[in-house]
């Protein structure tokens, strides 16, 4: 306890160690937050759920906070259901069988860039006669643009920019033939200038049966979304960024912990018993040096399974018998000759007791810095494999986001946020552990302290 306190006081003398600890603490907090906020099954659903989960999100747009630093403001995305606050739904029965169902929604558009797409998702209930709707958009200058008239089925989607009739009508009214430009521009400007102000969406519905009802959801795909933006499949990157933290930490820490402890135990056993066992351990280490580490991992990923736990297991297996075993063994051979081991032997301590209670504890000062410094390597290893397309098939990880971005040409197309967000998180994680590891190395290895 006293020792721990002393070490901690020592750590606080190194600013880089304090900074590293702070980063690690933040990451752990982020990881815990992610796991609590988005449970595992929910994360998988959000990441792999398909168009039903992502339809509300625009495609490949940067985070909304970009607007703070931009001169030309990007429209933010939103989705609202008829009947929710602001989106009024009024039902006026006109005869026993028919009714008019009207929706009205006013929204502000004060941006300098046009939205990506506007959509209306209709759901309706009826027996045999389809309800009918007319859609209008009232621009800030008071003009009413007819968007479309259509009979709707139980589930019907209306996409503004894919409606041929709307495009024809806009052309006839001497507006731009791209519906987004046509609807949101000041009339008769060339090049088109976005018209700012309050717009109003009006949906006039008509039902022809007693129990028939219409509901609508208005989805506005802007040019920015949430805190992290979206990717090519309209997924919210925030899910992957949040869930990347627990996965990266778990992978890095487990791999580092398992490899360093196992190689230390094996080195201790070899050094203690000597003979053929020691010889065998040495030979295995040499064989392992011949094996191409990354290639073996890629083979396992390609042929067998890309599950992160399989990859973790193989990584640990391949990293136990490395140079570390040799260097630990060299120190153990020295420690083995010391008098307190002699004393332990004299009072009849078992081999197990000597190895695990006398030999290994002596090495903990050496173990801790190595362990902490090894974490970044494993965190990046997971990302590297994901970059090669061997990321976990189910879980969203930082490496997989970078891989998606790479393979969809994010750098060519200028979607820098897509690569930078996970990359910065990876870098911060790596730096945090590396800085702490460096400082610990100096604290625990007095030989380096003066240097």
């Amino acid at each position: 306890m006293k020792n721990l306190k002393k070490n901690f006081a020592e750590i606080s003398r190194y600013p880089s160690a304090v900074f590293g600890l702070f980063i690690i603490f933040l990451l752990v907090a982020l990881a815990i937050f992610a796991v609590i906020k988005i449970p595992y099954s929910e994360a998988v659903r959000l990441w792999r759920g398909g168009e039903d989960v992502w339809y509300m999100n625009p495609k490949n747009v940067p985070p909304a906070w970009f607007n703070t630093f931009r001169k030309t403001k990007l429209p933010e995305s939103f989705a609202i259901k008829g009947g929710e606050e602001g989106f009024t739904k009024t039902v006026t029965p006109s005869s026993p069988d028919t009714a008019a169902i009207d929706f009205e929604y006013a929204f502000d558009f004060n941006y300098d860039v046009y939205p990506q797409e506007l959509m209306l998702y209709f759901t309706s209930t009826y027996q045999s006669k389809n309800p009918f709707v007319s859609i209008y958009l009232i621009t800030p200058d008071g003009e009413e643009i007819r968007i479309g008239d259509l009979g709707i089925s139980a589930r019907q989607t209306f996409r503004f920019s894919q409606d041929e009739k709307l495009i024809k009508r806009l052309v006839r009214e001497k507006r731009n033939d791209d519906p987004m430009l046509g609807l949101f521009s000041v009339p008769e400007t060339d090049p088109p200038v976005p018209q700012k102000g309050s717009y109003k969406l009006v949906v006039n519905g008509q039902t022809f049966e007693a129990d028939s009802d219409i509901n609508v959801e208005f989805v506005f795909h802007g040019q920015s979304y949430g805190l992290a933006g979206t990717d090519h499949a309209r997924r919210d990157l925030m899910v992957a960024l949040l869930w990347g933290a627990p996965i990266a930490l778990a992978f890095g820490l487990l791999a580092a912990l398992a490899t360093s402890i196992l190689s230390m135990a094996i080195a201790a056993i070899g050094a203690w018993f000597g003979g053929w066992l020691d010889e065998l351990i040495q030979r295995i280490t040499e064989v392992n040096l011949v094996l191409p580490f990354l290639a073996v991992l890629i083979m396992v990923g390609t042929f067998y399974s890309t599950s992160i736990w399989t990859i973790l297991g193989v990584t640990i297996l391949l990293s136990i018998f490395t140079g570390a075993v040799k260097s630990y063994r060299a120190v153990f051979l020295q420690v083995k000759e010391s008098t307190y081991i002699e004393a332990a032997k004299a009072y009849g301590a078992s081999n197990f007791r000597i190895i695990f209670f006398y030999l290994i504890p002596r090495m903990i000062p050496l173990l801790i810095p190595t362990l902490v410094s090894a974490v970044p390597a494993y965190v990046f290893l997971e990302a590297s494999l994901a970059l090669l397309g061997l990321g976990d098939p189910v879980l969203p990880t930082w490496g997989k986001v970078i891989n998606d971005a790479q393979s969809n040409g994010a750098l060519y197309k200028g979607y820098y946020y897509w690569i930078l967000e996970p990359a910065v998180l990876l870098m911060v994680t790596g730096l945090g552990f590396a800085m702490l590891g460096f400082a610990l190395d100096r604290i625990f290895n007095p030989r380096l302290r003066g240097i």
């Binding site: 011949v290 191409p292 290639a295 083979m299 042929f303 750098l411 820098y416 990876l426 790596g430 590891g437």
Partner: protein
């Protein structure tokens, strides 16, 4: 034990010259044999992994079956033939293709054939891969990619090595200075691998500033002038090489610097300083000399490390090197290429380790061949 000491006492005068020779010969023999077995076991393990315990055979069989069935079904010439004959035809084709890939012999036998061929460096023919000039031999596939890898890895690793040793020597003299602290502060940046810096470099220099290419080794219409060609390749080389360098530069300097510092705190260095020797002499004779074995070991391992290429950096920069070839070979389940790449590395490693023992003796008179472990 007692016999040994007795013999030693008796023949202490005469034994000296003869025993040195036998000792060296014995040591060399044992060393060569252990290294050879290490290579054999290492390569055989790779062969086993490349086959995943028969799992890859199943994948390949299914693959062949599907391909052949599709070809037979798609061929218009077969349309008038009965389904029975068509199936027979497909089966024959499948058997033929399986024979070509050696799938008709059990893996246990095939694996030893791979092993003996590999050990004799008969790399054989690739199963699915073809080199750019159309050759199917593993030798050509590897040789074709070797120059690209040597260019990229050679430039970056050699620069990295000499530059960091040189800077480290300078820093170890100026320890505690601003630059020294700078290197210590920056050394955690080496936690990130080179592809990671590669992505940042591409973003900056290719996407934003548009001054360097995104990737590849040479522009699409290859310049016909030799001089232009070299310039063009160099331009493509800048980003991958510098990301390989940056990713390990500071840690490498830091490690060498710490290493040199430990040696320069030895008593004999203080003694030399006290004698008033010029610092160049101290550096050459008292610091570099005893550290030479370590420097040579590192350099030798670096040189053979060039062989493996950088799988991910090459992939990110679309560099046509060996690393990417190996990655593609794995994707094609092409065992001969994977084994070929591994065996060459294993041999290079074994030979280097073997030779290093003798190099140590040459550069450090304190070391004896086979003189204890």
């Amino acid at each position: 034990m007692t016999q040994d000491t007795q013999a030693g006492v008796l023949g202490v005068q005469k034994k000296k010259s003869t025993s040195a020779f036998t000792r060296v010969a014995r040591f060399m023999g044992i060393r060569a044999i252990t290294l050879f077995f290490t290579v054999v076991i290492g390569v055989y393990t790779t062969i086993l992994i490349a086959n995943m315990g028969g799992y890859v055979d199943t994948i390949m069989r299914n693959d062949i079956r599907e391909r052949v069935n599709q070809r037979v079904a798609a061929s218009t010439a077969n349309q008038n033939i009965s389904a029975e004959t068509r199936r027979q035809m497909a089966d024959e084709l499948i058997a033929l293709e399986e024979k070509r890939l050696g799938l008709n012999t059990p893996f246990a036998i095939r694996s030893f054939r791979y092993l003996t061929d590999a050990l004799q460096l008969e790399l054989g023919r690739a199963q699915n891969m073809v080199s750019d000039n159309g050759s199917r031999t593993v030798r050509n596939i590897i040789l074709e990619r070797l120059p690209a890898t040597l260019l990229l890895m050679g430039t970056s690793q050699l620069f990295l090595f000499f530059f960091s040793v040189f800077i480290a020597l300078t820093l170890s003299r100026a320890y505690g200075s601003f630059w020294d602290k700078m290197v210590i502060t920056l050394s955690p940046t080496s936690a990130a691998p080179s592809w990671f810096y590669g992505i940042f470099f591409i973003l900056l220099f290719a996407a934003v500033f548009k001054i360097l290419p995104f990737g590849g080794m040479v522009d699409a219409p290859v310049p016909d002038n030799k001089f232009d060609y070299i310039l063009n390749v160099l331009k493509h080389l800048i980003l991958p090489a510098s990301s390989l360098i940056i990713s390990s530069l500071f840690l490498s300097i830091y490690n060498w610097r710490t290493f040199f510092l430990i040696y320069s705190s030895e008593d004999y260095v203080d003694m030399a300083k006290a004698k008033g020797l010029p610092s160049r002499d101290i550096e050459r004779r008292y610091i570099l000399r005893p550290t030479l074995p370590t420097i040579i070991t590192n350099f030798a391992l670096l040189v053979i490390g060039l062989w493996t290429g950088a799988i991910i950096t090459e992939t990110v920069f679309l560099w046509p090197g060996l690393g990417r070839t190996l990655f593609r070979a794995i994707g094609f389940f092409d065992t001969p290429v994977i084994v070929g790449s591994t065996i060459i590395y294993a041999y290079l490693l074994a030979i280097t380790v073997f030779l290093l023992d003798f190099v140590y003796v040459l550069v450090d008179p304190r070391v004896k061949v086979g003189g204890g472990k």
